[in-house]
């Protein structure tokens, strides 16, 4: 199953749930939303967990933990795959589910919590808890660093 995200509202972020983590990123950086079942795990190029086909090309798919470290096995709760714009191509990230349109009070990441190259741009407090703000560009760069490590 594939949902192509065409003409998204720039103001409406998507919330990616990864175990206990909720990540918010602008929909403009998302290319498609696929089912995790559509990820081809045969012949995956480690540390990617598999491949997904989109736009007649296949793109690497990564599985992350709630602390945004690479996982080499896919937890059963990962049911969706978000295809992110990674500049010259795409990269897939598995998540438990994706929802749209949550808003809340935005906060800067406190200075003591900032690390170089962190994908976390800020925090948002919602009725459901804390959401970490990121972007497709930052998340793709984080994946590239993890994959190259």
């Amino acid at each position: 199953m594939s949902v192509v995200l065409s003409r998204p509202k720039p103001s409406a972020p998507a919330i990616l749930k990864i175990s206990g983590l909720r990540l918010s990123l602008p929909q403009t950086g998302m290319r498609a939303l696929e089912a995790a079942d559509d990820v081809d795990v045969s012949g995956a190029a480690t540390p990617a967990i598999g491949w997904i086909v989109h736009g007649q090309q296949r793109w690497p798919v990564y599985c992350l933990s709630q602390d945004l470290a690479l996982l080499h096995e896919m937890p059963s709760e990962r049911r969706a795959c978000v295809l992110l714009d990674a500049g010259e191509g795409c990269v897939g990230v598995l998540c438990d589910d994706v929802s749209m349109g949550h808003e809340g009070q935005r906060h800067e990441l406190p200075p003591a919590m900032r690390l170089p190259d962190t994908p976390i741009l800020g925090l948002m407090e919602t009725e459901e808890g804390i959401v970490c703000l990121t972007s497709a560009e930052r998340l793709a760069a984080h994946l590239a660093r993890l994959a190259g490590a």
């Binding site: 709630q66 945004l68 990441l109 406190p110 003591a112 919590m113 962190t118 994908p119 925090l123 407090e125």
Partner: protein, 147 residues
């Protein structure tokens, strides 16, 4: 002029216990609230010594584990102290949270107790240091610790 003994002075500092014999102090006006086992929110890709936030009065405060910051094992999360500090005299008031291993102890500190900072304690994290019952107790420079 009457000379008062130190024990007769009102407390002017909080002695903070970070576990594993790590102790430091802040002024009495710095600590605003002590919370017992509040809900902390983990934030990924952050330093090991400051990896969670606390929702407090419309703010998200960084939660600092000074034990990890000083190279020791993480504290068992139990008490959290809310601290208010300025980055310079008259500057904006900022807030942060410190993990504590035990409730803070109010003590009286006088100028005569001034002593050298232990070599093991990072100088940039301390405003000064004083002797308390034979132990050197750094006074925390919170603006630098939370920056």
């Amino acid at each position: 002029m009457a000379i008062r003994k130190l024990g007769a002075l009102p407390p002017n500092a909080w002695l903070l216990d970070f576990g594993t014999s790590l102790r430091a102090a802040v002024g009495t006006r710095v600590l605003l609230q002590i919370l017992d086992a509040p809900k902390l929110h983990e934030v990924p890709c952050t330093p090991a010594w400051c990896h969670s936030v606390l929702s407090w009065q419309g703010r998200l405060l960084p939660v600092m584990d000074m034990a990890v910051c000083l190279g020791e094992a993480p504290q068992e999360r139990r008490l959290v102290a809310i601290a208010g500090y300025q980055d310079r005299p008259g500057g904006t008031l900022h807030f942060g949270a410190l993990l504590l291993a035990a409730p803070p102890q109010a003590i009286a500190v006088g100028d005569a107790q001034s002593c050298a900072l232990p070599e093991t304690f990072p100088a940039e994290f301390a405003i000064s240091c004083f002797d308390h019952e034979g132990a050197a107790i750094p006074v925390l420079h919170l603006a630098r610790i939370f920056s």
